[in-house]
């Protein structure tokens, strides 16, 4: 059977560098950092006291009080990003939209961590006197699939609906699932992407215990410095990005604006370690090769790689090795950048954010930078003849972009987007 083509027809974003798509993109191109001291809780006892939080987000602007009781912050972000994306796509204005063929797969790597923390904390504190007093919304607020459920209820979308969990690869897996289901003719439209809101004691403390986070507390904005020798861990981010994926003929029939085409998706497992990436990047190599094969593309067709590049000592090296292995000579012709240098690491939402940057890069022929690299701050294990797009965005033709996401558990997922041509 012939696979259908899938295009991106809508975008929505609540991120540490902007509460809409345009602001987020312009700040990324301008090289603006979203890092600042943590405001969600008193982090003074934590090794890491800063993060890339979403700013100026007032839940009461978006939800009434009754609805808010059902929504963990991660699901609030997801719903607001979904509303932006749906509005941007114009699908609600489409005549005869078949709501049985609109699906939702909005992922989270963790989900309602803060809700879990509050409810478990209440029991720990009051359980001995009061017994269990768990709020009836505890479970449905906390579970990592519930954003997809809320979005379906808001719009009456009756197509396939679920969440995907693969830690920091979650939203790439979501996008790939949505892409494949449309390709196979199982739905016309998908609301897909990811959301996360884990900048709370359990999130920061948990990652701190793993020595995963940067502790550059005196200089948050310069802490996320992928591919620099002095990098010391990732910076946590939060937020949500939602993409509308649509079957090409469906999009054309309603005269939709098309940002880019989804070309392919690849997946693999390191099968190596709980949290560390394979030192030679074996899983990353397999994921990128699978994506290229799925897209029917060759390494020389890719002009931009939005790397996972979290700014951790080990992960950055193995990903670069993998890129050199897969792309050979083309690795030196394409641009590489880690937008996490600006946004921080949005965990389960990071793949969606970086897919959005890849889409906008392809559409606008601009590669956003990897900020915070200082001259001479070079790691001997990294090949600096590659173009990491350090510190300044680059204008160049971007025919296609590849975006990697890797998650604890050894999950790897790669998405390729390309310019839409008839």
């Amino acid at each position: 059977m012939e696979l259908k083509r899938v295009v991106v027809t809508g975008l929505g974003a609540i991120t540490p560098i902007g509460n809409d798509v345009e602001t987020t993109w312009l700040n990324a191109v301008a090289g603006k950092s979203g890092a600042a001291p943590i405001t969600h809780f008193d982090a003074s006892q934590f090794k890491t006291q800063f993060a890339c939080e979403v700013k100026d987000f007032n839940p009461n602007d978006h939800f009434d009080r009754k609805k808010l009781r059902q929504l963990d912050l991660y699901a609030q972000y997801a719903m607001v990003a979904a509303r932006q994306a749906v509005a941007d796509s114009g699908i609600e204005e489409a005549a005869n939209l078949d709501r049985n063929r609109v699906g939702v797969i909005v992922a989270a790597g963790i989900g309602g961590l803060h809700t879990f923390e509050e409810e478990a904390g209440y029991y720990a504190l009051n359980g001995p006197q009061q017994g269990p007093k768990y709020n009836p919304f505890f479970i449905p607020k906390m579970i990592a699939d519930i954003a997809s459920g809320h979005i379906s209820m808001e719009y009456n979308y009756h197509g396939p609906n679920f969440g995907v969990v693969s830690a920091c690869a979650s939203s790439n897996n979501a996008i790939i699932d949505a892409f494949n289901l449309i390709r196979l003719g199982k739905a016309d439209v998908f609301v897909t992407g990811g959301a996360e809101a884990a900048i709370y004691p359990a999130g920061v403390g948990g990652f701190n215990s793993m020595h995963a986070l940067s502790t550059r507390n005196d200089d948050p904005e310069h802490a996320s410095r992928p591919f620099s020798a002095s990098r010391d861990g990732f910076v946590m981010g939060e937020g949500s990005v939602v993409l509308i994926l649509e079957e090409l003929e469906h999009a054309k029939a309603r005269g939709a604006k098309i940002y880019a085409e989804v070309a392919g998706g690849g997946m693999s497992a390191d099968a190596y370690h709980l949290t560390a990436t394979h030192p030679e990047g074996l899983g990353a190599i397999l994921s990128m090769r699978n994506a290229l094969e799925d897209a029917g593309m060759k390494p020389e067709d890719i002009d931009y790689i939005n790397v996972h590049g979290t700014s951790t000592p080990v992960g950055d090296i193995s990903e670069v090795k993998a890129i050199v292995e897969v792309f050979g000579e083309q690795a030196h012709k394409l641009n590489i950048s880690s937008t996490k240098s600006m946004t921080g690491h949005l965990l389960g939402a990071t793949g969606a954010l970086e897919a959005m940057f890849s889409v906008l890069s392809v559409k606008n022929d601009i590669v956003p930078p990897t900020i915070n690299h200082e001259e001479g701050d070079n790691d001997e294990n990294i090949d600096y003849t590659l173009n990491f797009t350090f510190n300044k965005a680059e204008n160049r033709p971007v025919r296609a972009a590849l975006s990697n996401s890797f998650g604890f558990g050894g999950h790897n997922a790669t998405v390729i987007v390309k310019k839409y041509e008839e």
Binding site: R65, K66, R69, K133, N135, P136, F137
Partner: protein, 79 residues
């Protein structure tokens, strides 16, 4: 309005996001105030926390109006 009644109504207004003047004593949580089964459980739990009481499930099932709640709480707190 008794002190219990005003505290009960404040909880209902807060949790169900309804207007204060909708919370009449005869109002039913589900029929008149838009509560679903989860909302109703949450209301009962909030009453328990607010008044330091335990409402057994078989009693909770009988509390379906604002008046039911006020009466139950009054009877079980002032002894």
């Amino acid at each position: 309005m008794s002190e219990i009644a005003s505290r009960v109504k404040a909880i209902i207004v807060d949790k169900l996001g309804v207007d204060e003047n909708e919370v009449t004593e005869t109002a039913e949580f589900t029929k008149d105030l838009g509560a679903d089964s989860l909302d109703t459980v949450e209301l009962i739990m909030e009453f328990e926390k607010e008044f330091g009481i335990t409402i057994p499930d078989d009693q909770a099932e009988k509390i379906s109006t604002v008046q039911n709640a006020i009466e139950y709480i009054a009877a079980n707190t002032q002894k």
